[in-house]
């Protein structure tokens, strides 16, 4: 049975992405970030979210997209995936849409420079809009990062 779901829509560069609303704990404006040395380059550091220290990731950096300036549109989306709390820095987040599981199609090999394995699929919104649904487990999968980082030297 295809299920209806609510999806938080955010922007990275020119593309629109989606995360299921159940995964999202809160969406915050930019917070002061404390840099954490000796970790992955896309880990911007940690923030204080009401007493809990949460690591934040530059999601663009995670997908090796060109770096974007932080503006007053920049948001941190705090997600919870298998016991881990992580913040994603995104260019903006300002929409919630209803989707049906059937609307999601298998992703083409490359979408906006993001590797297919990070994607759950692509959903069509109306005629023009394409929404890229993220596979959060893969995005937060660290085993691959470690080999990647060591390749970069």
């Amino acid at each position: 049975m295809a299920e209806d779901m609510k999806v938080i829509v955010f922007k990275l560069g020119t593309e629109e992405y989606g995360i299921e609303v159940e995964r999202v704990q809160t969406i915050e404006r930019m917070l002061p970030i404390t840099r954490v040395p000796k970790t992955y380059s896309f880990v911007k550091g940690v923030v204080n979210l009401r007493g809990v220290v949460i690591p934040v990731i530059d999601l663009g950096g995670r997908f090796s997209l060109p770096e974007a300036e932080y503006t007053d549109q920049t948001r941190i989306i705090i997600v919870t995936v298998s016991d881990m709390q992580v913040g994603f820095i995104v260019d903006s987040a300002n929409d919630v849409v209803d989707l049906n599981e059937d609307d999601i199609e298998t992703p083409p090999e490359i979408v906006g420079g993001v590797k297919a394995k990070y994607l759950r699929g692509v959903a069509k919104l109306g005629d023009e809009r394409l929404l890229i649904m993220l596979n959060l487990h893969e995005v937060l999968n660290k085993s691959e990062i470690i080999s990647l980082e060591s390749m970069e030297g």
């Binding site: 404390t34 040395p37 000796k38 940690v46 204080n48």
Partner: protein, 698 residues
């Protein structure tokens, strides 16, 4: 009925009972004549059985039942405790423990215990015993609880002795509401309540029947307690679906009369004035009579045995179990409050409004009291770790053919729960080590003029912001020369190095990886094999181990631990715009060095500190700090930190000051970061990373 919600309670309580069974059995082993201990064991086993049966863990219930049968013979003096019985009983306890473990892991608690059961049955039958006495009499009819059930001679004498010892003896009749769906559970709840503050001596119908629901809506029992009858009545009525409770205090005379006459007398006595009289009479009686219990057992064999206080009813414990995660949440919320407090203090000082300043000052006082309480909530007595050791030492000593007494002191010393969880394994290792290598064999001990039985002291005590746990044996001690010889042969030190070492440094060699002085490495422990792991674990907890030893006299391992892992004193420092916290416990000194004093030795920067060369670590360089570098400075601020015996000088930008900080983790996503042990939130809401000295000293 959904039992899942009771499962965690069942597991906790089963563990408690198993622990107390273990303890009491050890106690009994020291004084096998003391029937009061058997009573306690019996009661514990019985409760365990009841709980297991209620929860539907049949194997557990039936094994406990078999144990109970044996214990019943013992307490009725139909069977003498002896070593073989102890061994089988201990085996049963182990089996029960693994069943509970299995249940904890989500299993059914099933285990093949047929051999233990057959040994238990053999014991049961081995002595000539009247089988009918094993089962509590089943013949009496269940309906007529108005008259008192007959007591056998032993039970009668127990009751009389209790009265003589100043305890109250009651006859209790409980009627459960006819609408109750689960009368056996209600009955169980009554027993559970009663067993918390006294002893149930005899029930009618038998406990087995009650448990199996084979009774009408009422049952009666004899009960020994310190509680007053009214209080007792109220407590029982508090259990829901209990319709009626009759509590009749009994006197020695009534018991002396025999059951039937006593019943008649009881009818009369259920009037308050007479009760008062009866009680005062019982009082005078108890003054005249000697306490009948003599404590048998050998004087010199004073081990873990707590003074024979087993006869007194255990005080009902006024505690609740709280999920540690909830405490963590409380802790988090509280640290937020602390942050807001410092912000408010700052604001009120700026605004200079008198009322505001006063209110904030008051709030500060209240919140620091709160802080103390919240911290104390996480404190657990070390007893929770220590309590498994007596049994372990017993088994170890037995398998090594040694005689060892374990003396525990300071078991009520409290430590943070997180430390408690971690400290068990290192202590097990040190204790095994003490039994295996510390205490000599019986013959060696006798030759060197010592008593046959070796003593291991396990001590815990507070000192300042630390808790010390010491393990001291009166065994062979450590011979420096022998140790140095082995160390040289293993290439741990050179001969020249060893000559300059202090005794303490030599002893520390024991903690070197892969080091062992035992000539033959036993399966129990090789001194050194694994001691490096012990050391590493304790250091990771922010603690330290030191060894003192006098050859021929014994060895003392002293473990120093921080009181808590969640709030520590730290020095806040600056590296450019970044702030870091260094735990005060690892700081030796702070100071300033001139740039030209930094020397290069084998490619590493060193400075001389108190006549020793200490590695110089530039934190800014280590952490790739962008807006600060000590290259530009002529005089560099340093913090000398310590990891065990090793020192290092950390170059920093500036000191901010000393502060109490709440330790937070960096979250599961971030890997273990070299040199960082966690984070804390400062007064302004900013996150500062906590430096891990262990990661900076290689």
């Amino acid at each position: 009925m959904d039992m899942n919600q009771y499962l965690s309670m069942f597991i906790d309580e089963s563990n408690d009972h198993l622990q107390s069974l273990n303890e009491k059995m050890l106690e009994l082993e020291q004084s096998p004549e003391d029937l009061s201990i058997v009573q306690v064991i019996f009661r514990s086993a019985h409760t365990l059985k009841g709980m297991a049966a209620t929860m539907g863990f049949e194997d557990l219930a039936s094994l406990t039942h078999k144990m109970e049968n044996v214990l019943d013979l013992v307490r009725n003096e139909k069977l003498q405790m002896k070593e073989s019985i102890f061994d089988v009983l201990f085996q049963s306890l182990d089996a029960l423990e693994s069943m509970v473990q299995d249940i904890m892991a989500g299993g059914e608690g099933k285990l093949d215990v047929s051999h233990i059961v057959s040994s238990l049955q053999a014991i049961e039958k081995g002595e000539e015993s009247d089988p009918s006495s094993i089962e509590v009499s089943k013949d009496s009819n269940t309906g007529s609880a108005t008259s008192m059930p007959a007591l056998d001679e032993f039970q009668n004498s127990v009751l009389i002795q209790s009265i003589q010892a100043g305890q109250g003896v009651m006859f209790i009749r409980v009627i459960i509401s006819r609408t109750s769906q689960l009368k056996s559970v209600r009955a169980y709840m009554v027993f559970d309540l009663l067993e918390r503050s006294g002893d149930v001596v005899k029930t009618e119908p038998s406990v087995e029947q009650i448990e199996q629901d084979q009774f009408e809506y009422e049952f009666s029992l004899y009960y020994i307690t310190q509680m007053q009858s009214e209080e007792l009545k109220k407590a029982i009525l508090n259990i829901s679906e209990i319709e009626e409770v009759h509590v009749i205090p009994l006197t020695e005379e009534m018991l002396g009369l025999g059951a039937n006459e006593a019943a008649a007398a009881a009818e009369v006595i259920e009037k308050p004035e007479v009760i008062a009289e009866a009680i005062s009479e019982a009082d005078t009686n108890s003054k005249n009579t000697e306490t009948p219990k003599a404590v048998p057992g050998d004087e010199k064999e004073k081990t873990v045995r707590a003074a024979a206080k087993t006869n007194t009813a255990p005080a009902a414990s006024k505690t609740i179990r709280v999920d540690i995660e909830r405490l963590d949440v409380l802790m988090n919320l509280f640290s937020e409050l602390l942050i807001d407090r410092s912000r408010l203090e700052q604001l009120s000082n700026e605004l200079e409004h008198t009322d505001l300043i006063e209110t904030v000052a008051h709030m500060s006082r209240v919140s620091s009291d709160l802080q103390n309480i919240v911290l104390k909530l996480r404190m657990v007595p070390v007893d929770t770790v220590f309590n498994r050791f007596p049994r372990m030492i017993r088994d170890l000593a037995k398998s090594l053919n040694k005689k060892v007494d374990l003396v525990i002191t300071g078991a009520d010393t409290e430590l943070d729960r997180t430390v408690i969880d971690e400290i068990g394994d290192p202590l097990v290792h040190l204790l095994r080590n003490a039994v295996d290598h510390g205490v000599e064999s019986i013959s060696t001990r006798v030759e060197s003029g010592k008593s046959e039985t070796g003593t291991i002291q396990l001590r815990a005590f507070h000192s300042g912001n630390h808790v010390f746990i010491e393990i001291e044996d009166d065994g062979a001690g450590i011979y420096r020369d022998k140790l140095v010889k082995v160390a040289i042969s293993r290439g741990v030190v050179t001969e020249a190095e060893s000559a300059a070492m202090t005794d303490q440094q030599v002893f520390q060699l024991l903690f070197a990886p892969g080091f062992s002085t035992a000539e033959t490495i036993s399966d129990i422990s090789g001194r050194g094999v694994g001691l490096d792991v012990v050391k590493a674990k304790i250091t990771s907890l922010g603690g330290n181990v030191t060894i003192h030893s006098v050859p021929g006299k014994g060895t003392n391992f002293s473990v120093q631990l921080p009181l808590t892992l969640s709030i520590i004193s730290a020095m806040l420092i600056k590296l450019g715009s970044e702030k870091y916290a260094i735990p005060l416990s690892s700081i030796v000194e702070t100071g300033i060095v001139k740039k030209e004093k930094i020397r290069m030795v084998h490619g590493t920067k060193m400075i001389s500190f108190r006549e020793a060369l200490v590695p110089f670590v530039s934190l800014a360089e280590f952490f790739d700090v962008e807006d600060y570098s000590d290259e530009a400075e002529d005089e560099i601020e340093i913090v000398v930190i310590r990891k065990g015996e090793q020192l290092a000088a950390l170059a920093i930008d500036d000191f901010i000051g000393q502060n109490e900080i709440v330790i937070k983790t960096l979250g599961k996503y971030l890997p273990n970061i070299q040199g960082i042990s966690g984070a804390t939130i400062l007064g302004d809401g900013q996150v500062a990373l906590i430096i891990d000295p262990n990661g900076l000293i290689k």
